[in-house]
């Protein structure tokens, strides 16, 4: 099954909407609640990253009996140093975003902790693609 969600950069009022919609799908599909929890944390953080940093983006999700594959591709400033961005506590979020309680530099590590596979590719000035995989079978 394939799902797509369009994400607007900067629209914090809608941040988490895609994650919420997809969570409902996972519940309807009777996916193991533990896997739903992990998927939702990883997806939400990645969704918020698009809202906080990019101009716009698309989330494409494929689910079959083996895995949940999430591809988040955004148009945005890109990440100059992915290794640095992965470090806990490192953030380039604006003061306004931080005041809301975002931008604590924990998002990518939350994704890593909950995904079975995580791949980030980025081109400065163009955008970023984040791929997250959650395996449905041990």
């Amino acid at each position: 099954m394939h799902f797509e969600y369009i994400i607007d950069g900067g629209n914090f009022a809608k941040a988490g909407t895609a994650s919420s919609l997809f969570k409902k799908v996972l519940k309807q599909l009777n996916v193991d609640p533990k896997l739903i929890k992990r998927t939702v944390v990883a997806l939400y953080e990645a969704e918020v990253n698009i809202v906080a940093h990019a101009y716009n983006g698309v989330i494409r999700i494929d689910i079959d009996t083996e895995r949940i594959y999430i591809n988040l591709t955004d148009k945005g400033p890109g990440i100059p140093d992915i290794e640095l961005a992965m470090q806990k506590g490192y953030s380039t979020a604006t003061p306004e975003v931080r005041e809301m309680g975002f931008g604590a530099g924990m998002g990518l590590s939350n994704i890593k902790a909950n995904a079975d596979k995580l791949k980030i590719q980025s081109e400065v000035g163009k955008g970023t693609t984040v791929e997250i995989e959650i395996l449905l079978k041990g």
């Binding site: 009022a13 988490g16 919420s20 929890k37 939400y44 809301m100 309680g101 604590a104 924990m106």
Partner: protein, 111 residues
């Protein structure tokens, strides 16, 4: 212990989400960093924070938290309040600071 028991015992204000007052409280989490709550809170916990915007409700819903307690007299923003009613997750309020209200809730949950 249910959300409404904590509301009654501690005299908390109920802003919205009254449908969820019968939710069972399994524990609590106190933090103003959204990714911290996203990454480390557990379903059924009551969340103590000073963040008043709609995104707290998104997190509470995704993590299936029991309720949110706003500290120091803060009030939820209108769209947060509306979302709380949709989700049926209560937004509560206290004049206490985070440290104080967290201690009081902890004592109720761990008598």
């Amino acid at each position: 212990m249910k959300v409404k028991d904590i509301v009654d015992l501690l005299g908390l204000k109920v802003f919205s989400g009254t449908e969820g007052l019968n939710r069972e409280v399994e524990g609590g989490y106190t933090s103003d960093l959204l990714s911290d709550v996203m990454g480390h809170s557990e379903a059924g916990q009551i969340w103590v924070t000073l963040q008043t915007h709609k995104n707290v409700m998104a997190i509470a819903s995704l993590k299936e938290l029991a309720a949110i307690v706003l500290v120091k007299g803060f009030e939820p923003e209108p769209d947060c309040l509306a979302q709380s009613n949709i989700e049926g997750i209560p937004m509560l309020g206290t004049e206490d600071e985070s440290f104080e209200i967290t201690g009081k809730i902890y004592n109720l949950l761990h008598p």
